[in-house]
């Protein structure tokens, strides 16, 4: 029989019993009994009808389910009788489970979900280590010749492909070209990853021959965006940077290669969009011959089955060492291999795990809180349970009935929580840093739902077990004899509740301290002097892509210089513009364009030569950025034809001239000799968290293809952006302008991961604090209401109000004090684990510790004071009369 037929069967049984009872009755009447006596006799013969029914139900085999449903109904009724409690408990659980689910879904899509390649776990990234610069740059990009050597010699590697980031200017609908990010890849790139084309084909080795690489593969998104999913796209020819290229294939929809950078942890804020265009990589120029320079590429490799990352690392390193020895290289090489997933998620990995740990801590606090609230209810229901036990209810049955309430609260909480989580994910996707890897992949999935079911089960277990066990403890005789509804209960319960509060406080302390540290670290990043002022500066990128800039023997460069000068003149003469300048690198995009500073007067071994980031800037750069010039003066237009002056940052000056006399000194940089005409303050233009040495050169010596205009103006962005575009296009209609925004926004984006973690952790911290207050208040308020008679007697015997308040407050002293102590101990371990996330903040930062504990103490004191105050106002007459 199926259990949903039970109702029908029950009616059937009822009818059967009734009909047989009537037969029995008739028989008794036939025996000569009166109608009434016959009825009684028949009833007696039948015995306990309810019991018969119950036993028959058992014969059907669905009793456990029936009992479960019964208990569920009962629990529902109990919960509905106390709507206030139920609502609070539901909200607590919904928030806890919802937050956990949301954080987990982010974790799942960013860190856990595998890429859509074959065996994505086997895909690794390898870089070289240049002993000479290892102190500043633990790893460097790969050299082409080393790649070729390693690919053919390494036995731990199944296959390897070289990639290089590239921007492709595509003029899709005539007009101004669009810039699409993409990769130059070895022809075996896609086959190594194990993808099959959705349309057309992928690259063949001959596509990488010089002059034959005019073929491209489109990502699914590019195919949709640029060609509206045209199925006849394969074979079409279009113009890229003025040259015709042919589309030969389209990638499947789920394939997306994560954004990677040639430099380790150089994930720059401007690289937020997926790769859309792939072109074969053709090795040429210096790359083919150089063994000790041209570290400009990145290698993606697939490990042999069963091979591990450390094995590959060791093998590649020893191969490289042997290679540099046999070829008598001037540099000392080794290699470092990392799984692709780790490479991509790098810094955010630890931050997300921290958020996950924090949210689980929050869930634990919520569960403990619910357990504590439920425990109070279990005590209040002690008489009910005693009565049930006296009437013969089994222990399992009582336990099950009591446990059911927590199960219902957690399940309903989970359902609500998932709704919260869906909303939470939407909000998260809106506020999350755009450069969070795989952000747009975040969504609800089955594993996520499974996870939230799992944690709600754990929460039910955590919050339901103790109260259910409590309901078993009621001694029927003791409970029923007691005339008062508030008989004094053993010390056991209050001990357990205090233990729960201790645990809750301890978790809260850890969470608050971690939050305090992260927030302090973030505020330090923001508030330390960074020696430039991004407010009211508009940042615009203009990419000069016209073929006329590609002319040989310097005429292309001079054309570019001239265009840049004209743009600057035009912008500077616009009303409302204070000053304008250019730089050659996107601000806040990390350490890049690093070169050595050679001093002709003081030769050093290669490993000791200081390095600096190169920025090609125009005169007026320092005024626009408001970076102080500590000594000397700004670049001038006078040496446009023959640039020989440089401005160095203070750090670069100190590194190159430790004696402190930088002004007027000469150094060789990028193959030319420059004289220092100024020393600039250390502006953190590459990364707010890092003070890097910079050499500023007049841009005319090597005018950049991607020009970053900086415009200090009092006018708003919305009003000014179209004007800037028009001015750029007036001078070069073929220029692309992919970025126009406030420099502030770019600065904000560069610290977006830190901001996100700070904001989310702060939310969790506040939630934990609220829960802790609720917990302490709940326990104390209940304890006071139980001890009302005792307090009444105390007052009657002459106890003062102050003494009563002190008595109640003392009750919280142990659990709160113990919890804080426990929390401080636990936070020693927790803060050590997050050390790498902190910026110039000690894990033992006293302010965070003292502040967290202080806030918690004040909060719990306030939570405790209310019940204490209530205890002090007990009227002894009323209490004694009630007894």
């Amino acid at each position: 029989m199926k259990w949903w037929q039970i109702k029908k069967r029950d009616a059937d049984l009822e009818r059967e019993l009734r009909s047989d009872l009537e037969l029995e009755e008739e028989e008794q009447r036939d025996n000569g009994l009166s109608a009434e006596d016959a009825r009684y006799a028949a009833r007696r013969a039948f015995g306990n009808q309810t019991l018969i029914k119950e036993h028959t139900h058992e014969a059907w085999g669905w009793t456990p389910v029936e009992r479960l449903l019964q208990d569920a109904r009962y629990a529902f009724r109990q919960l509905l009788r106390t709507p206030g409690f139920t609502l609070v408990a539901l909200l607590i659980m919904a928030c806890g489970i919802g937050a956990s689910t949301a954080v987990f879904s982010i974790l799942d899509s960013v860190l856990l979900r595998p890429y859509a390649f074959r065996d994505p776990g086997q895909i690794v990234v390898w870089r070289e280590v240049l002993q000479e610069v290892a102190k500043e740059y633990p790893s460097v990009p790969d050299n082409y010749r080393h790649f070729v050597y390693l690919r053919s010699h390494a036995s731990t590697i199944q296959d390897a492909a070289l990639i290089q980031n590239a921007s492709f200017a595509i003029a899709a609908d005539g007009d101004h070209p669009r810039i699409e990010k993409g990769l130059n890849v070895s022809p075996n790139f896609f086959t190594m990853l194990g993808v099959t084309p959705m349309l057309g084909r992928f690259f063949l080795p001959e596509d990488a021959q010089p002059g034959r690489n005019n073929v491209i593969v489109l990502s699914w998104v590019a195919w949709q965006d640029l060609f509206h999913g045209d199925s006849g796209i394969v074979g079409r020819t279009l113009k890229m940077k003025g040259q015709p290229v042919t589309v030969i294939g389209v990638l499947p929809r789920d394939f997306e290669f994560p954004v990677v950078n040639e430099m380790r942890s150089g994930a720059s804020p401007d690289q937020t969009f997926p790769y859309e265009i792939f072109q074969p990589f053709v090795p040429q120029g210096d790359a083919l011959t150089s063994d000790d320079a041209e570290f400009a590429f990145l290698v993606i490799a697939r490990l042999k089955q069963g091979g591990t990352v450390p094995q590959a690392s060791t093998e590649l390193s020893s191969l490289l060492r042997a290679y540099s020895a046999t070829n008598h290289l001037t540099v000392h090489l080794s290699a470092v291999v990392e799984p692709l997933s780790q490479e991509v998620t790098g810094n955010i990995r630890k931050a997300l795990w921290l958020l996950f740990a924090a949210v689980l801590g929050l869930l634990l606090i919520a569960s403990v809180n619910l357990a504590s609230l439920q425990l109070a209810r279990a005590i209040a229901h002690e008489r009910d349970n005693a009565l049930r036990a006296a009437l013969g209810a089994g222990r399992t049955r009582i336990f099950q009935a009591a446990f059911m309430e927590s199960v219902i609260l957690c399940l309903t909480g989970a359902a609500l929580g998932i709704v919260f989580a869906v909303g939470g994910i939407r909000i998260f996707a809106a506020i999350a840093p755009e450069n969070l890897p795989r952000l747009h992949e975040i969504r609800m999935t089955w594993p996520v739902l499974l996870f939230s079911c799992g944690i709600s089960g754990v929460a039910a277990f955590l919050s339901g077990t103790l109260p259910a066990l409590q309901s078993l403890r009621s001694d029927p005789q003791y409970a029923l004899q007691s005339s008062s509804t508030r008989f004094s209960h053993g010390g056991h319960t209050s001990f357990v509740r205090r233990l729960l509060i201790t645990l809750e406080i301890a978790c809260t302390v850890v969470l608050l301290i971690v939050t305090g540290l992260v927030v302090r670290s973030f505020s330090r990043v923001l508030n330390q002097p960074h020696d430039f002022d991004p407010s009211r500066v508009i940042l615009a990128e203009a990419d000069l892509l016209s073929p006329r800039y590609d002319q040989p023997n310097g005429s292309g460069d001079s054309a570019r210089s001239e265009v840049i000068d004209r743009m600057l003149d035009k912008i500077r003469s616009t009303p409302g513009v204070g000053s304008a300048a250019i730089t050659s690198a996107m601000p806040l995009s990390g350490n890049n364009y690093v070169h050595s500073m050679y001093r002709p007067d003081h030769p050093l071994p290669e490993s000791e030569v200081p390095t600096a980031n190169l920025r090609n800037v125009s005169p007026g750069y320092f005024a626009t950025m408001q970076t102080r010039l500590i000594a000397g003066h700004d670049l001038t237009t006078s040496e446009r034809a023959n640039p020989q002056s440089a401005i160095v940052s203070q750090k670069a000056a100190q590194a190159a001239w430790p004696d402190g006399q930088a002004l007027g000194r000469k150094f060789k940089f990028e193959g030319r000799i420059y004289a220092v005409i100024g020393v600039a303050a250390d502006a953190r233009i590459a990364n707010l968290k890092e003070n890097i040495p910079v050499v500023y050169l007049p841009f005319w010596h090597d005018p950049p293809g991607a020009v970053f205009l900086l415009i200090r103006t009092s006018r708003g962005l919305d009003e000014f952006a179209p004007l800037i575009r028009r001015q750029v296009w007036d001078i070069d209609p073929e220029a692309a302008v992919p970025v126009i925004e406030m420099l502030d926004a770019q600065v904000g984006r560069s610290v977006a991961p830190e901001r996100l973690v700070s904001v989310v952790l702060s939310l969790f911290g506040v939630a934990a604090l609220v829960l802790a207050i609720l917990g302490v208040y709940g326990v104390l308020a209940y304890s006071v209401s139980l001890r009302t008679p005792e307090f009444g007697i105390r007052v009657a015997l002459g106890s003062s109000k102050l003494k009563l308040i002190r008595l109640v407050l003392l009750e919280t002293l142990m659990p709160v004090g113990g919890g804080i102590l426990l929390g401080l101990l636990a936070s020693l371990a927790a803060t050590r684990a997050i050390r790498s996330l902190l910026y110039e903040t000690s894990p033992a930062d006293p302010l965070s510790m003292v502040g967290s504990v202080g806030i918690l103490l004040v909060a719990t004191f306030m939570a405790a004071f209310l019940p204490a105050h209530r205890a002090s106002r007990i009227d002894p007459m009323k209490v004694l009369r009630a007894e």
């Binding site: 059967e16 009909s19 029995e24 007696r44 013969a45 018969i52 036993h55 014969a59 059907w60 085999g61």
Partner: protein, 121 residues
């Protein structure tokens, strides 16, 4: 009262596990409803076996659940009323044979222990 102390000595409850067999055996005569089955067992044993409704109905439903009997509401031949008639199924018939032989073995085993002399002679 049907269950005073003296009556209890004269009538014993149906042995655990034998009730199923007795019901199946009773149904061998043809379909019957619960009341008839109970009365039949009681009368055949001259009221020696006391039929408890508390065990009769669960037993009937258990047999039905196992597929040894089938049940159907039918109009009684002698009166204008429907009763729930239980009917022996083929499976039930086989089960009856099994239970009968088990019971025989059991009774013989008990007898050998209780009256060893009688067995030898």
């Amino acid at each position: 009262m049907p269950s005073t102390a003296t009556q209890k000595q004269q009538r014993i409850g149906v042995l655990q596990g034998t009730l199923d067999m007795l019901i199946l055996r009773t149904l061998l005569y043809g379909p019957a409803h619960g009341h008839q089955i109970g009365k039949h067992i009681q009368r055949t044993t001259n009221e020696f076996l006391q039929m408890q409704h508390g065990s009769l109905y669960p037993a009937l439903h258990r047999l039905e659940e196992r597929g040894w009997v089938s049940a159907k509401w039918e109009t009684a031949p002698d009166r204008n009323r429907e009763f729930k008639y239980y009917r022996l199924t083929d499976k039930g018939r086989k089960q009856l044979v099994v239970e009968e032989s088990q019971w025989k073995q059991m009774a013989e085993a008990v007898a050998r222990v209780m009256w060893p002399a009688a067995e030898e002679s």
